[in-house]
């Protein structure tokens, strides 16, 4: 009588998305954060268009990374505090897939949206128009990796009262390869080169993260629920 694993995952996905959509402000916050930090760079570096355009790939990628980091902590916290997480861990469903559904839902309301609005900020920083499709695509792939890796940090710290800062310390080192290849892809295209190799590596990282991160998240959740 238990539902199939996929039906269960789509139930989780739907639940998470409805929960997110009932609080539209929480969805808007990372985007607003993105916009505000973009505005910080001309103020800090000076408004010279050439300099800003040169740094734009790195700036945009770093902000996307930070925006992702700020949302990572929320992934399991609500469910941990109200006891839903206990129910999830007791369910006979494969935790691997359930966790994947959680991160997918989170990516849909953060990474995907960030990637979709990124062209606006790219234009504001003077990134060349030819680089914008690659920026979006690299953010799509890369932010999915960030969500999965961030999930590990969230699962490890969900049982702690003061998780916010700690999660950044734990997962930022793991974000670095994504940052390196993500911003390099945009830089390559902005410099008139081909970025398919960079994107392929980001894709490989995503496959790797999909294969392994849910295992670590599941193990970490079982530890956190018992702390």
């Amino acid at each position: 009588m238990a539902p199939g694993a996929l039906a269960f995952c789509s139930r989780i996905l739907r639940r998470q998305l409805v929960l997110a959509l009932r609080r539209p402000v929480d969805i808007g916050n990372p985007l607003l954060f993105f916009a505000m930090v973009v505005a910080l760079f001309p103020l800090g570096l000076g408004p010279a268009p050439a300099a800003l355009a040169g740094f734009a790939p790195g700036i945009l990628w770093i902000i996307a990374l930070l925006a992702n980091l700020l949302t990572a902590d929320n992934l399991f916290r609500g469910d941990f505090e109200d006891g839903s997480l206990e129910q999830l861990l007791l369910s006979p469903q494969p935790l691997y897939l359930s966790v994947l559904a959680y991160t997918l839902a989170q990516w849909l309301v953060t990474g995907l949206l960030l990637a979709l609005v990124s062209p606006l900020f790219a234009v504001m920083l003077g990134l060349s128009a030819s680089a914008i499709p690659v920026l979006m695509f690299s953010l799509l792939l890369g932010s999915a990796v960030l969500s999965l890796v961030g999930g590990i940090g969230a699962a490890l710290t969900v049982g702690l009262k003061r998780g916010g800062m700690l999660i950044a310390l734990l997962i930022l080192p793991f974000y670095m390869p994504v940052l390196i290849f993500g911003s390099a892809a945009v830089q390559a295209v902005a410099g008139g080169m081909d970025a398919s190799a960079h994107l392929a590596i980001l894709g490989a990282m995503l496959c790797f993260a999909i294969a392994l991160a849910p295992l670590a998240i599941g193990a970490a959740l079982r530890i956190s629920i018992d702390a």
């Binding site: 490890l156 700690l166 702390a227």
Partner: protein, 244 residues
């Protein structure tokens, strides 16, 4: 064989055996360190390009090599404690982190000191130094996570998961940083790569690497003995040991 594993799980036995290993390993390590240092610093020829400043590699390279290996020791110990629920593996994992972090820090500081005469600046975003910096972050993350948990049982398990995640990620991070550096490498600084090392410099270096492994083992065992005492403070054998 099985009884050996069984004994490994017994704190008093491990405490005693670590003590008897230390009683001969520690003096040996100190002698080897002194010998390697004297050999490397006094009895090798100066490098034809870098003069005497290169000699810091006798500290820098061994510290960096052992710091990286230490992370794997930590992760393996963590994996053992997760899978076989072996308390003493958890002790080993917990004791590894500060030792590894200290070695990473030494590697960073010596690398930076070497950078001053070589590149004319204390810090260069060179691939190896950047990788060492990230390794330091990984170590500090494990320590911070352990300290954040009140329940030390859960702390050990959480750190084990984190260090296993780190093990999978370290090769990716190192390769990415290498690639990133080769992409941005300015042509003017190119000491690394295709420089073969003269055997007269290599042997003392190998001796130093060996001594650093031994030093790591000593520090790990000492730390483990301390941690065992701390955890077993209420048991009879510890009370007897300290004469309380």
């Amino acid at each position: 064989m099985w009884s050996f594993f069984h004994k490994l799980g017994s704190p008093p036995w491990l405490y005693r055996i670590a003590g008897s290993i230390l009683s001969w390993l520690l003096p040996l390590t100190l002698v080897a360190l002194a010998a390697g240092a004297v050999w490397g610093l006094l009895y090798t020829a100066p490098d034809f390009r870098q003069g005497n400043s290169y000699r810091i590699i006798y500290i820098h390279v061994p510290a960096a090599v052992v710091a990286l290996a230490g992370y794997y020791v930590m992760a393996i110990a963590g994996g053992i404690s997760l899978i076989w629920k072996m308390k003493m593996a958890d002790v080993a994992m917990k004791s590894c982190a500060p030792v590894g972090a200290a070695l990473t820090f030494i590697a960073l500081v010596t690398g930076s000191i070497w950078g001053k005469p070589t590149w004319g600046t204390w810090w260069v975003w060179d691939a190896r130094i950047t990788s060492m910096l990230i390794l330091l972050f990984l170590y500090l993350g494990v320590i911070a996570l352990y300290e954040a948990y009140d329940n030390k049982d859960a702390a050990g398990k959480a750190c084990a998961v984190l260090s296993l995640v780190g093990t999978v990620n370290i090769p990716i991070i190192y390769k990415s940083v290498d690639w990133w550096y080769s992409l941005h490498q300015p042509a003017s600084i190119k000491f690394t790569g295709e420089s073969s090392i003269d055997p007269s410099m290599l042997y003392p270096l190998l001796l130093m690497i060996g001594s650093f492994y031994a030093l790591f083992t000593c520090a790990l065992l000492m730390n483990m003995r301390l941690e065992i005492l701390r955890r077993e403070a209420r048991t009879g054998w510890v009370r007897k040991l300290v004469g309380a």
